[in-house]
Symmetry: C2
């Protein structure tokens, strides 16, 4: 068992992209997929050195990345545990951390929660790509009982991906991603739903025809994978509800301001949102596609 | 006076891009800017044949595009009118139509309201580009008293830009753009404002660090020009309030669903938003920048 051999369970966009980068770094990558066809496709694409459907084949790995959908993470760890030496570090890539840590604590003490903030709208091994994690945030959420050496071992791999490494508690992570990832998803979905609720058929048709870049960008994450959205809502329900409640309150304040026709206050508020946004996004992320 | 000579007042992104395309079509373009430096820059960029700061120089034009900010449209028409023959068609590019039509009706009967749904985050003559309107929606909003020949003359120009031409009433336009342009702007701004309201400083810092493509896209239009946002809210206040009210109601329903933990209903709802979104956007608009 050595950290030069890496295991990956779940060979989709994230697992496949991880494999491509780690193999390019000279590491040996063993993969497990639910379907044999996916395992073969991952091998053909060069994302893994070997792959199959049995978790037992990951026994030689020093670090194992669980890249399944959130609901499958803990069951996968339970099935994997009997095959592993206790030094093996398991980590995951789930977008919610507290419930994952709680479920896995009794199954595998040598677990380091992780969340790479990278992705595309495409899914599956066919969408896997090199450098997906380069310059993207990658969060680790150790607990007070997580072995420090295990955190360091996962961090060493994350750095090799070129990702920006952050470490925080699972609860801080879940609250922060509720704001910048989960609230945007549901605010965006609600935008689509509200538009579709327009009762005047000719206005609705016109709205659909006139939709342009503003609607495209604002609605993008709300038009994504329903399974993922539901899994996020289930697993981060409290934090999502907190963020949605505050968002609703912000809209109430905005509506009151529009009703009062307080235009200087509105312009000031829009100035603050423009300034506020710049605190979130490194300038280079804006220019990747040219002017938007 | 002939339609082979076109006037443009306001040589920013829209006016400048219009000039570039029309000149490439062999038309003669006369420009007027508020500042002489802008007029010279437009001429140097090839967006106009001649430009200056006096509206009187547009007298030879058959069609004049008013490309100023919304609050300046009617005052510009009032100053322009004494210099024009009655056959001259004036059109505008304002993103709200009913108040513009109402203000201009007593000033210039030969007016055709227009709205090209195109733009970038960049502003000003330096950002002007060829083909900005190609494949973009371009709406004309004639009234029962607008001369049909005038509508046809503006439509002929719009087609030469390669835009997708739509004709509807000003009230239908204003309601439709409230949904797909103005609501997204304020929903997006409220998202930024709500995030910035997080009281826990370490969570707020983390949220800013972790923001990625989902936040970037959903917050983009809410981080735009405060002047434009305020002008839109002022001029389309009733329709924006209607859309915001329905959006707030949609969020209330969503919050209730999350509180009830009705996951099958949530997944169904997200399936509907994913399907709904596809009714708004032609597939090619999604691939312009590759996977997002």
């Amino acid at each position: 068992m050595t950290d030069t051999t890496i295991g990956i369970v779940g060979l989709g966009l994230i697992g496949g992209s991880l494999g491509l980068d780690l193999r390019a770094q000279g590491l040996r990558v063993l993969g497990v997929a639910q379907r044999l066809a996916t395992a073969h496709q991952a091998r053909d694409r060069g994302a893994v050195d070997e792959a199959g459907t049995e978790l037992a084949r990951l026994a030689p790995a020093g670090i194992i990345f669980i890249c399944t959908p959130i609901p499958a993470i803990a069951p996968t760890v339970a099935q994997l545990a009997p095959h592993l030496a206790p030094e093996t570090v398991i980590t995951d890539v789930g977008s919610v951390k507290q419930p994952v840590l709680t479920a896995i604590a009794p199954l595998w003490p040598n677990f380091v929660g992780g969340h790479p903030m990278a992705g595309t709208t495409a899914q599956g091994i066919a969408a896997a790509q090199r450098q997906l994690f380069a310059n993207a945030p990658y969060v680790l959420t150790p607990t007070p009982t997580t072995p420090a050496t295990s955190v360091a071992r996962v961090a060493a791999i994350v750095r090799r991906l070129g990702a920006r490494l952050y470490t925080c508690s699972a609860s801080e992570h879940d609250r922060a991603v509720a704001w910048i990832s989960h609230l945007p998803l549901f605010a965006s979905a609600a935008l689509i739903a509200a538009c579709e609720g327009e009762p005047d058929g000719s206005v609705l048709t016109l709205a659909r025809q006139l939709a342009s870049s503003g609607f495209r960008d604002t609605s993008r994450v709300g038009g994504g994978n329903p399974d993922l959205g539901t899994a996020i809502a289930r697993s981060n329900r409290q934090e999502l509800l907190r963020a949605l409640g505050r968002y609703r309150d912000t809209l109430e304040d905005l509506i009151a301001q529009l009703e009062a026709e307080d235009w200087p206050a509105l312009e000031q508020w829009l100035q603050e949102t423009a300034t506020g946004r710049s605190r979130y996004l490194p300038p280079e992320t804006e220019t990747a596609c040219g002017p938007r």
